[in-house]
């Protein structure tokens, strides 16, 4: 186990190093003035320029500049956004929880619907529940999520007026941002407005969560179904069946544990896909998360913001994948014997 952890840890370090080098080099690769790309300060006067040159070690060679860059990243000095003039780190700090929140709820929905549906499909293999679930899964898997989002907005927001189409909560609700996770903040605030705020936040969450959950749900259904079918094919199940166990007993007591192991790993790995899909969802539902901000920054050619946003998102994806692997290895000892780690 120790050797395994060491291997994973060194892989993590290498990935973070590669990421930091890539992000660092972006300042040089982006068009425009190097100092502006690094600091976000435009039209600086002579004094400011001198101070910046000193701060970013511009005259000291790349290694020294890179080390200074690392130091700034660790201390939270990620430069200033060109378009807002505010600290990039501050933006990331406020916006990232909104994205994370959306992804977590989507994942919860995916697990709640995906795994039971997968089990159901496997239990009734080649019978009508299986066909229905498999066809729906195929549809859900094939539909582009921006299209699904627009369809839902058209039907449920514009035509039926059941759901709001943007934001995290009605803007008239004044919730003190503490953690920047909206439901948590409302709870910390003591459910203001007689709990209406909580209901409203859930109301706002519904459509984006459904849209974002669509892809991971279909993946989990397929994974669970396949994994379950594989387990059900094995001899110990056949023996159990021969002994006269019911379908429910077979699945709940014998097959489930074995079938869920690869699925659990998959849940963790879905996180990285989710972050990417969340960007599209955020843009469509005007969700104030890091994805929408990053896309706006790209549109506005706000290089310090692009750099900061990419760094935050990539770092998170690497860490999420790594923790998924570790959790899996804790639950599944066989996986620790795999010779090399992979991301």
């Amino acid at each position: 186990m120790r050797e395994y952890l060491l291997r994973r840890f060194s892989l993590l370090c290498f990935m973070l190093f590669a990421l930091s080098v890539f992000t660092f080099s972006l300042s040089y690769l982006f068009p425009g003035d190097l100092l502006t790309n690094l600091s976000g300060v435009t039209n600086s006067n002579f004094n400011t320029t001198q101070l910046l040159i000193e701060k970013y070690h511009i005259n000291n060679g790349y290694i020294s500049q890179y080390l200074a860059f690392l130091h700034r990243i660790i201390t939270g000095d990620w430069g200033v956004s060109l378009s807002s003039g505010e600290a990039v780190f501050e933006h990331v700090w406020i916006l990232f929880p909104a994205t994370l929140e959306l992804c977590i709820y989507a994942l919860i929905v995916a697990v709640i619907f995906g795994i039971p549906s997968g089990i159901l499909a496997a239990a009734y293999h080649k019978r009508w529940p299986d066909s229905v679930i498999t066809s729906l899964t195929l549809m859900g898997f094939s539909i582009p999520i921006f299209w699904l989002a627009l369809l839902l907005i058209m039907v449920f927001c514009l035509t039926l007026s059941w759901f709001p189409m943007s934001g995290r909560i009605g803007l008239l609700y004044e919730i003190e941002p503490v953690t920047n996770f909206i439901l948590l903040d409302i709870w910390l605030d003591g459910f203001p407005y007689k709990g209406l705020a909580f209901q409203d936040a859930l109301h706002h969450l519904a459509l984006p969560t459904i849209v974002l959950a669509m892809y991971p749900t279909t993946v989990l259904i397929r994974f669970t179904r396949d994994s379950m079918l594989q387990v059900l094919e094995q001899n110990f199940i056949k023996t159990a069946r021969a002994k006269g166990l019911s379908r429910a007993q077979l699945i709940l007591h014998h097959a489930l544990r074995n079938a869920l192991l690869p699925v659990i790993k998959q849940i963790g790995l879905q996180f990285s896909t989710l972050i990417t899909l969340a960007m599209v969802t955020e843009v469509i539902f005007s969700w104030p998360g890091i994805g929408r901000w990053l896309i706006d920054s790209i549109y506005q050619r706000d290089y310090p913001a692009i750099q900061g946003g990419l760094l935050a998102v990539s770092m998170f994806v690497i860490l999420a994948n790594m923790s998924a692997e570790l959790t899996n290895s804790l639950l599944d000892p066989i996986s620790r014997n795999k010779a090399h780690g992979k991301i």
Binding site: C157, M165, G167, L171, L172, G190, F191, L196, D296, Q300
Partner: protein, 536 residues
């Protein structure tokens, strides 16, 4: 045990959501306005961006006087009355008493408005010894572009409630300029407090004024929150809070109107008007507005420094097509750079009408027989004078292709766009101007004067001393007929030189829920929500 937990849980939850009834009432007394852009600043003195003025000027601040949109007469605001000395050079304002500045999370005033505040507010604009003059990049675009900073000799406090403006020379548009949304009164006490703390830049970002609402919070690209000013001097404010939902996309703004996420929507696009008007729950306001949408050439850059080239390009543009495809009947084609409702308006037959053949001839005459490549900057937001600059740019692009000129369309985020145009990085730009006062000077000096070039507000970068002389002569007299003559000449000069090609005058539209009343739309200046309320 499990049953016990299940039994207690609902009680716990209900306990959590227990709160006072008046919070629910508060919620009903809120208004959401869907705005089209982030504000550039929270002080109107330092910006001229219409979207920003709509959001901040009339909501947070007050002016000394204003112009009645119906009669065109000046009416008192923070000044109860004023005297103009015979020479016209000294104007004395008598201030209103018991006007409270906002009490906010970051500032608690200890006194009410007095002459010191007025002296400080206007001193900031032109007095280099004012501690705030150089804060915020020392740029007061409106006042600099109309030459107010060169006009005021000093502002003198006569007593606590009397202020005298001493001018270098009499100017007929002075009072009009003081009645614009830019001439707001700020708090000297707040400024001093920030100065002591070394946080001067906060002055324009965390505002303190005397207006109907006070600033609460701003989350970029997301929302701005104002609360009611409980001590507003003019009248009780009906709305408990006013929230601006920043939605840059026009279609999203309309969709939010339909889902009732917005109560009022800025600038619905012309294509959506008939649909909005067909709904019973939405009311569409229409107001003839003093504005001009134009195509400005950067006259300092070749080949646009040649009037012949500017004329050739103007001949190539089919304005009728633009009126149909961009304005959909929500505007009229321009025949001068002044809108027809202005008292100095004179139609200009000299302005080029669509004639691609003539355009080609002029281009050949100017030495560009094979055309050239240029940039055409299109503003990314919808404004009254140009509801869809991107589409207009595409139409112009295809018209120019006909005469062999290749135009590349350039777009940036609005604030970046304005900043770069101010630095004259463009070849040509589609922009416009909505008047702040009914005075015709408002269409000339801020847009085309030499001072406007230096303050970055003149997008055609055109500085013509002869033209400036005309404007000065027009301002030096109070005789309307004499002024008309000067402005006629100024309009002719623009039609001949074409630093910018006037395209259209738009109508101002605003959509609101039918249960909202009291929104003031005026033919000039920004919107006021001071009296907005829900119908009982």
């Amino acid at each position: 045990m499990r049953k016990l937990v299940l039994a207690i849980l609902p009680v716990f939850l209900v306990g959590c959501i227990e709160s006072s009834e008046n919070e629910r009432a508060k919620l009903a007394q809120g208004l959401v306005y869907c705005a089209e852009a982030n504000p550039v600043s929270f002080n109107p003195q330092v910006t001229t961006t219409g979207s920003t003025i709509d959001i901040i000027a009339n909501q947070l601040y007050d002016k000394l006087l204003s112009i009645n949109p119906d009669s065109g007469e000046f009416q008192p605001e923070l000044a109860t009355s004023w005297d103009i000395e015979n020479s016209g050079k000294n104007i004395t304002f008598y201030l209103r008493k018991d006007v409270h500045f906002h009490t906010t999370d970051y500032f608690t005033p200890t006194r009410t408005l007095n002459a010191d505040d007025v002296v400080f507010s206007f001193g900031r604009l032109f007095d280099v010894y004012n501690p705030y003059h150089f804060i915020g990049d020392a740029n007061y675009p409106y006042f600099q572009s109309v030459g107010m900073d060169q006009l005021i000799r000093q502002v003198v406090k006569v007593d606590d409630y009397t202020v005298r403006f001493e001018l270098f020379n009499a100017e007929s548009s002075f009072l009009s300029n003081l009645a614009t949304d830019f001439a707001v009164v700020t708090s000297k006490e707040y400024a001093q407090k920030l100065q002591q703390a070394g946080k001067e830049t906060q002055f324009d970002q965390l505002p303190v004024g005397t207006g109907p609402y006070l600033f609460k919070s701003f989350l970029r690209d997301n929302l701005i929150r104002y609360h009611r000013n409980p001590h507003y001097w003019k009248h009780p404010v009906a709305m408990e809070q006013l929230v601006y939902d920043i939605t840059t996309n026009g279609t999203s703004r309309i969709a939010k109107m339909l889902t009732k996420e917005c109560d009022i929507t800025a600038h619905p696009s012309a294509t959506q008007l008939s649909f909005l008007q067909s709904r019973e729950d939405i009311h569409v306001d229409k107001e003839a507005n003093l504005n001009i949408g134009y195509w400005a050439f950067n006259t300092e850059r070749p080949p646009f420094n040649d009037p012949l080239v500017r004329r050739a390009l103007s001949y190539a543009v089919d304005v009728d097509k633009i009126m149909q495809a961009v304005f959909y009947g929500s505007g009229i084609a321009a025949t001068s750079n002044l809108p027809p409702s202005s008292w100095a308006y004179v139609p200009q037959p000299e302005l080029p009408q669509y004639d691609p053949q003539k355009a080609k001839e002029l281009l050949a005459e100017a030495g560009y027989k094979d055309g050239f490549t240029m940039t055409l900057w299109a503003m990314p937001v919808s404004r009254i004078y140009n509801p869809n600059a991107r589409k207009m740019a595409e139409l112009i692009q295809s018209d120019l292709r006909e005469i062999g000129v290749t135009a590349k369309i350039v777009e940036y985020e609005w604030n970046t766009f304005i900043e770069r145009v101010g630095q004259h990085e463009h070849d040509s730009v589609l922009l416009g101007w909505a008047a702040d006062t009914p005075d015709p000077d408002n269409f000339f000096t801020p847009l085309l004067s030499c001072t406007a070039t230096f303050s970055g507000k003149n997008p055609s970068n055109w500085c013509n001393p002869e033209f400036d002389l005309l404007l000065t002569q027009a301002l030096d007299t109070n005789d309307i007929e004499a002024r008309k003559v000067f402005y006629k000449k100024a309009q002719e000069m623009i039609a001949a030189e074409l630093p910018l090609m006037p395209i259209a005058h738009g109508l101002r539209f605003q959509a609101s829920n039918t249960n909202i009343e009291g929104i003031t739309l005026r033919p000039f200046g920004g919107i006021s929500l001071a009296e907005a309320r829900r119908k009982p």
